[in-house]
Amino acid sequence: MSTRAFGSRIQRNIDPQLLRGEGSFVDDIPLANALHVAFVRSPFARARINSIDVTAACTHPGVAAVYTCDNIGDLDLELPLLIPHSSMTDARTQRPLARGDVYYVGQTVAMVVAVDRYTAEDAAALVDVDYDPLEVEIDLEKAILDGSPLVHPTHPNNIAAHLVQVSGNPDRAIAEAEHVTRVRVQVDRSTAAAMECRAVAAIFDRVTGELTVWDGTQAPLSVRGGLASILNIDEDKVRVIAPNVGGGFGQKVLLFYPDELLVPFAARHLGRPVKYIEDRRENFVGSTQERTQIHTIELYAKKTGEVLALRDSFLHDTGAFIPYGIAVAQVASTSIAGPYRIPNIWVEFKAVYTPTVPVTPYRGCGRPHACFAIERAMDQLADDLGLDRFEIRRRNLIGDDEFPKLREGLLFADGLPVSLDSGQYHKALEMLHDKLDVANFAAEQQKAREAGRHLGLGMAFYVEGTGLGPYEGGHIKIHPITGKVYVNTGLTSQGQGHDTVFAQIVSDQLGVKVEDVILVEGDTKAFDWGVATFASRAAVVSGNAIHKSALIVRNKTLTAAANMLEASADDIELRDGAAWVKGTDRQVSLAAVATATNPLRYAFNESAKAATQFAPASRHDGPALGEGQAPGLEATDYYSPPCATWAYGVHGAILEVDPEICSVKVRRYVCIHDCGNMINPMIVEGQVMGGIAQGIGGAMYERIEFDTDGNMINANFVDFLVPYATEVPQVEILHLETPSPLNPLGVKGVGEAGCIPVGAVIASGIDDALRPFGAAPFQHIPITPSMIYAAVTGG
């Protein structure tokens, strides 16, 4: 029997292609005679548009069309609010091209279509827009004050949404508390900075009436639905393909960006292929961002450190529009109690309009913010009560026997009550304690201090609700000629390795090599049903759907092979691409089984001879396909999770702060991680590592800077500091595997895990290192050298 593929460190199927530069991204799709797009974008954070003069641009040589809100027909609309929620009133969304007003620097005002991008940019510069700039307030806390300039006159105090959620009886618990710790924490604006920016290309075939769109999106099926609806075309006539996509991180799950509608519209209008390849500057000023939240969190505790209640009130910056609803704030507010028992919770947020690029989920989606708030508060509580940071957590972590831990009253982003399903939180904490050698650290730290060096130990725990519904599907077919297995699902991949992990799931059930399982996704013609890649859900939702489909195909194969081999299905095993009678050398290849299960008229090869109507083996009474039978070895099934399944982990670091230079060097970084059963530990580690790298960015480097007029002053990779490999520490990863009780594979999501606690870990470590300076705790990320300077000099 061959070894199980599930759980093995199998190299990724897609890597050779990607590493050799043989990937095919949207810009690689050859489109003869294509036109190219450039946008005219608002230079003001808030302004009235008096007039737009496109005369000079239209007559510029090489220009095919210039569009404004006045000549895009049905597209001159407010884009959809994707996730409605009762906490929002009159939620504001963007128009593809501005009409009347602009709301952030970078908002699309006009679209130029020309023979090449050079010409399109030249002509875009000729579009003359007359603006009356309006007053703006960029600061989140000032934006909600009476008298602050409004982003939307419809929304007093710039409040886009307001929600209070309560679990337990916080009032009573607060009255009983012996101690309260209160901290204010802030996480600043960042952006995903995927390697490939966004891209859209489209062809409209006038003969067939079919629209084909290549879109670097995380959600092709949803884009298809929206395009069909807005452009009023039958869904079957719209094909959306997400080819190789160079990173998504949530930025590419939003639909629609203006270009996603306007490019297909122009392709149909002009009768030529049209392509828009977003450049880096446009990605900074035009594609959605995330992160700014300011929390005031209070922990009400007994003197023992047991936390009885939590109160958290936070502001969430949603930018100029709120197309993705309250998802980020909702995830933050429902993750706020982290891995702790805390039975009584009161959490409130206000989502605030600011005249900046709109905010939608970015890897972590509210979880890093919540983690930063609760973990900084836990550290502070430990300090206040004179307890060790590990001890305060021991006294509050949910015990193994307390699962499922329901937080009644808190509704997660899937609309369902928060229920942490499983975990070994205490064990994870002790693993970190051992691995970091915490017992001996204090002595080491003291010795270093005596030598003038400042070492610190930081740590943070996190939880992550993963694998959200509604559902995904899987289609599996064994190919009759090659015996290879084709798998389809409604997702798309941006580098996660779906093709490998899904193949591992199928390989075990059908006894074929992992490389003989071929995944086709990211194409609405490949699979008709599903949602998208987001919320750490692919392995959980599509993984289980594919698993269920594989079981059906396995049973069909066993039955058919048993017939062919004249044995009982119980005596058949599937391995090495064939069905075998156990303990014998009698076998038939899966290709032959697949052929034989498809009644044929024509004998096109050796296997086919056995499947024709006249073959002795297929002679039976009645029709070739019995009632209820389907040809071939094929199945489709779906998986719809009952609710999110909660992964978790705890990270710790030993770092050194140099007070003369104000630099931070991470000496060790340890991650204890549990995402249930691992399909491929190597891919899990890749996800965790990538997340930690992104977390290091958020902890110390990446901050989108707006000036007071709302101009983004670091919309480039010189000044927006994405950490290089040189800034990312070596990470030691240890796994726990607590199977999820919620799904057949026992898996939990891992896509966002790594980035969640890093900011809290680094802040905790710097606090610890700088204790001799008596500085206030670091409650604001990213932590910059100037902030360390202020701490060490008391400035």
Partner: protein
Amino acid sequence: MKPPLFEYRAPRSLKDAIALLAGDSGAMVLAGGQSLIPALNMRLASPSRLVDIQHIEGLKGISVQDGRIVVKAMTRHRQLELSEAAHRANPLIREAMAHVAHVPIRNRGTVVGSLCHADAAAEMPMVLLATDGSVVAEGPRGRREIAAEDFFQFHMTTTREPDEIITEARFSVLPAGAGWAFEEFTRRHGDYAIAAVAAIVDRTSGHVSLAACGISSRPVRLRQSEEIIAKGGLVPDVLKAAGEAAKEAVTAPDDMHASTDYRRHLLAGLVRRAVEKAASRTK
């Protein structure tokens, strides 16, 4: 991020290149292109003509002669960094060059191009200044040598005339027995300096040379700190005082990467460390 239209010329002789530059007031020199091409693509620069000097005879190579390391205009950063002759003549150069961006950029970018670009936070202008170096400019009015002290004016501004081409840079050889050091802080490896210091310490002559970048509108010599050390000697208190004195040279305003106060604090520390290290390397 596509440049507007420009005329591209690739002359074979210096004379032709100068004529092409002189013939179009909107012309710019293209060497390694590591700063100019991004500026073109972002439409921050829109020259009417680009004069590409990479095919001109005699603009390549490194030589050490008469106490000078002569680096011709089309010499790539990486060539100077790896040059054994240059390293033997002045090890400060290689030590500094490891901090100039990243290897792929050093493979294409030129040393002289970086000097002419004159970013106030760039390392090589500071090294030229620390070594009492110079550049040679050639134009319609002939050839002239410009001392580093006179060359760098403001951020991205030099005393090169628009119709001149800088054909070579001249770094001084390290005095025999002198020590050297390069200290820099960047938030990420390879970025422009928040602050950097180059130091040369010669115990024999008592000469100390200190230059800094990232702290002002151009690279600066830290004369006051040099004097403090020359008078007080290479002892800890003096080095600390030299660091403190250097703070006055910081004129850069608060920016997104550093506050002015932090830059002063940082520079003081870098000066102390650089001199200490240079002193430890003297013979």
